[in-house]
C-alpha cells in the first residue's frame, strides 16, 4: 500500500510541474498587467519603463517563471502589482479565501453525500418503484438546471420565507449575502447556531441541490451493480436477511465509486464555487479568482491556479488511495 501511494505521489510531481508551466502560460496570456494603468493618462516613457521594471516585466517570461517558481517553493508567492491594487501578499490572501470556501463546501458536500447515498440506495433496492421514479426525475431536473438559477431562485425564496418568519414574530433568520458584517457571536450557543444556519443555509442548499443529484445517480448505479454481483447472490442464497445483504455486502462495495467521485468533486469545488460565491457574496476562492482575472493581477491568478492544482491533484490521489483501500484488487493492477 505504501509503495502504491509513493508511486502515485511521484507521478503527481511532474504533473504539478507541468501544471505550473501551463498556468504560467495562461497567466501570461491574460495580457499586459499595466494596460489599464497606461490607458489612464499620457505617461512619460521613462515612467512606463520604471513601472515595468518595478513589476518585473522587463525580464523575459522565462526569467519571470523561474523567479516565481523559486518564490513559490520558498513560500514567497509574490504580491499584487497593478497600480491601485496595493501591495497585497498572495499567499495569505489565498489561504484566507481557501478557508472561507472550505467551510462552505465541506458542509455542503458532506450533506449532499449523505442525502445522495441514502436516495441512491433506496432507489436501487426498490428499483422502478414510485420512489425510484420520483428520485430519478428530481435528480435529472436538478442537474439539468443552471446552478446560478438555482441560487437566484433560492435567494428570492429565502427573502419570502424571512418575511413570513417576521410576520410570525420570529425575526429574520436567513442572510442572503456572506457572513454577517460583525462576524458571528454575541449570544449563547443557540444564538450562534441560529446565526450560522441563517448565513450558511442558502449557499449550502444551492450547492447541495446539484451535488446530491449527482451522488444519488452514482450511488444508484453502483448499488445496482453490487446487487447483481455474484457475492450478493451468494449472500442471499445463504439466507441472510435482505437488510443485512444490502447494508453489509452491497452497500460496502456500492460506496466505492461514490466516495471516489466525492473526493474528486471536493477538490474541484475547493477551487471555488464561483457561481455560489458570486451570488451570495462570499469572498472565497471563486470570487477571488474572478476579480483577479478581471484586474489581470498575474501573481494572484498564478498562485490561485497552482493552489487549486495542488488541491485537485491531492484529492485525486486521495480518491485513488481510498479506492485502493476499499477494493484491494486495484493494487494488483
Amino acid at each position: 500500500m505504501i509503495r502504491y501511494v509513493l508511486r502515485r505521489v511521484l507521478i503527481a510531481v511532474p504533473v504539478l510541474l507541468c501544471a505550473s508551466v501551463l498556468t504560467f502560460t495562461l497567466t501570461t496570456m491574460m495580457g499586459d498587467p499595466l494596460a489599464e494603468w497606461k490607458a489612464q493618462r499620457a505617461r512619460a516613457p521613462e515612467e512606463v519603463a520604471s513601472q515595468y521594471h518595478r513589476i518585473g516585466w522587463d525580464r523575459s517570461p522565462v526569467e519571470r517563471y523561474v523567479g516565481w517558481a523559486e518564490g513559490f517553493v520558498t513560500g514567497d508567492w509574490g504580491h499584487t502589482i497593478i497600480p491601485g491594487d496595493g501591495d497585497v501578499a498572495v499567499r495569505p490572501e489565498i489561504f484566507r479565501a481557501l478557508g472561507v470556501t472550505l467551510k462552505l463546501v465541506l458542509v455542503a458536500e458532506v450533506l449532499a453525500l449523505l442525502i445522495g447515498v441514502a436516495i441512491g440506495v433506496v432507489g436501487a433496492v426498490r428499483q422502478y418503484s414510485r420512489f425510484d421514479y420520483a428520485a430519478t426525475g428530481v435528480a435529472f431536473v436538478m442537474f439539468s438546471m443552471p446552478l446560478f438559477c438555482i441560487a437566484v431562485i433560492l435567494k428570492a425564496g429565502g427573502i419570502t420565507l424571512n418575511n413570513g418568519l417576521e410576520d410570525a414574530g420570529l425575526g429574520r433568520w436567513i442572510v442572503t449575502a456572506g457572513p454577517p458584517p460583525g462576524g458571528f457571536g454575541g449570544g449563547g450557543v443557540g444564538h450562534l447556531l441560529y446565526q450560522y444556519s441563517g448565513a450558511y443555509l442558502l449557499p449550502v442548499l444551492s450547492l447541495i441541490a446539484v451535488q446530491f443529484a449527482l451522488y444519488s445517480r452514482f450511488q444508484r448505479a453502483s448499488m445496482l451493480d453490487a446487487l447483481n454481483a455474484d457475492y450478493v447472490r451468494t449472500a442471499r442464497a445463504k439466507g441472510l436477511t435482505p437488510a443485512r445483504v444490502v447494508v453489509r455486502h452491497a452497500l460496502r462495495n456500492g460506496l466505492i465509486p461514490v466516495v471516489t467521485v466525492f473526493a474528486l468533486d471536493l477538490g474541484v469545488l475547493l477551487g471555488g464555487a464561483v457561481i455560489t460565491e458570486t451570488v451570495f457574496g462570499w469572498r472565497g476562492m471563486g470570487l477571488l479568482i474572478v476579480q483577479n482575472i478581471e484586474h489581470k493581477e498575474p501573481w494572484m491568478v498564478q498562485g490561485w491556479m497552482m493552489v487549486t492544482a495542488v488541491v485537485i491533484v491531492a484529492f485525486n490521489l486521495l480518491a485513488d488511495v481510498v479506492y485502493a483501500y476499499l477494493d484491494p484488487r486495484i493494487r494488483l493492477g
Binding site: G31, S144, M145, C149, R233, I275, I293
Partner: protein, 311 residues
C-alpha cells in the same frame, strides 16, 4: 450526433454478421422505445430543434428593440418584451438556436477529439498512452471555468480594435478543447485496451490490415454505444457551462444572443418582469433535461444489464 453513427455495414469484418448487427440495432431501438422518459426527451429535443431552426422563419420579428416595452407575455408578443422593447420570442428563438449550436459544436468536436485520442492511447499504449493520460491529468488540475475565463479575457484584449466580432465559436472551441473531451477519451481508451486483445482484431492484424484500418473499421464500431451516450451527455453539459460562463460575463456577448446571456441580462428582473428570467431559464432546463433523458434511455438500451435485478 446522429452523424456519428456509422451505417451497420461498416462492420462487415468486425466479427459480426451483417444481419446480426442489424438485429442488435433493432433491439437497441426497441429497448429505447420502451424507455418512456427517453422517448419524451427525444421528442422534446426534436421540438426544440424545430423551434430554434424553423421558428425564426415563422416569427420574423427582428432582434432590435421595438416600440412596446415591458409588455407581459401574450398578444402581439407571446413571450412579452423587455424594458427597452426587445421581443422576447425573437430573443429566445435566437438564444435557443445559438445555445444549441454551441452545444452541438462542442459535442461534435469533443467527441471526435476524445475518440481519436482515446483510441490512440488505448491501441498504441506506451508513451502515447502516457502522454495523453498526463495531458488529461494536467488539464483536470485547473477548473474549466477558470481556464475559459482567462482565455476569454485574452480574446477580448485580442479583439481587433473597434472591430466587433461574434465570439460564440471561440466560446464553443474553448469549451470543447479544455473541458469536454477528457471523459470520452478516458472511456474509449479503456474499451480499446480490452478490445485490442480480442480475436477479431488479431485476425485483422494477421490479415495485414493497417493500424488506422484496424482502429477505425474494427475497434471503434464496437464502442459506438459509449460514444453516443457520452456525446449526448456532453450536449447537456455544454449548454449549462455556456450559460454559467455568460452568467459571470465571460461567455457569449452581444450581438450574439444565447440563453445564458439572456438570463444574465435579466437576472435582476426576477422580481420585476419575471417572464424575462423564467422563459430563457425554462428553455435551458428543457434542452438539458431532454438531452439527459435521451442519454439515460440510450445507456439503458445499449446496456441491458442494468434493466432488471436478476435473481
Amino acid at each position: 450526433m446522429v452523424d456519428l453513427v456509422p451505417s451497420p455495414t461498416a462492420e462487415e469484418s468486425a466479427g459480426f454478421a451483417d444481419s446480426a448487427a442489424r438485429a442488435q440495432w433493432r433491439t437497441v431501438l426497441r429497448r429505447f422505445r420502451r424507455h418512456r422518459a427517453a422517448v419524451a426527451g427525444m421528442a422534446m429535443f426534436a421540438l426544440l430543434l424545430l423551434f430554434a431552426f424553423v421558428g425564426p422563419l415563422l416569427w420574423p420579428v427582428g432582434l432590435l428593440p421595438g416600440p412596446d416595452a415591458k409588455a407581459p407575455p401574450g398578444g402581439a408578443h407571446p413571450f412579452g418584451t423587455d424594458r427597452i422593447g426587445h421581443d422576447m420570442l425573437a430573443a429566445v428563438l435566437a438564444g435557443t438556436r445559438l445555445s444549441l449550436q454551441i452545444a452541438l459544436v462542442v459535442a461534435v468536436v469533443a467527441t471526435l477529439l476524445g475518440v481519436v485520442l482515446g483510441a490512440l492511447a488505448g491501441y498504441l499504449r506506451g508513451w502515447v498512452d502516457a502522454t495523453i493520460g498526463r495531458l488529461i491529468d494536467l488539464l483536470l488540475c485547473i477548473p474549466p471555468l477558470v481556464i475559459t475565463a482567462v482565455l476569454a479575457r485574452r480574446s477580448f484584449t485580442l479583439a481587433p480594435t473597434a472591430e466587433h466580432q461574434s465570439n460564440w465559436i471561440t466560446v464553443a472551441m474553448i469549451l470543447a478543447l479544455f473541458t469536454a473531451w477528457f471523459p470520452i477519451a478516458r472511456t474509449i481508451r479503456g474499451m480499446v485496451l480490452s478490445l485490442r486483445e480480442k480475436e477479431f482484431v488479431e485476425a485483422a492484424r494477421a490479415l495485414g490490415a493497417s493500424t488506422p484500418r484496424i482502429v477505425f473499421r474494427h475497434i471503434l464500431p464496437n464502442t459506438i454505444d459509449v460514444i453516443i451516450v457520452n456525446a449526448t451527455v456532453t450536449v447537456a453539459q455544454a449548454v449549462l457551462l455556456e450559460s454559467a460562463l455568460s452568467f459571470i460575463g465571460l461567455g457569449v456577448h452581444r450581438p450574439d444572443v444565447s440563453l445564458g446571456l439572456l438570463i444574465n441580462e435579466n437576472k435582476n428582473e426576477l422580481a420585476t418582469l419575471p417572464w424575462l428570467f423564467w422563459i430563457p431559464f425554462v428553455f435551458i432546463v428543457l434542452i438539458s433535461l431532454s438531452v439527459n433523458f435521451m442519454g439515460d434511455g440510450l445507456r439503458d438500451a445499449f446496456d441491458p444489464r442494468q434493466r432488471r435485478v436478476r435473481a
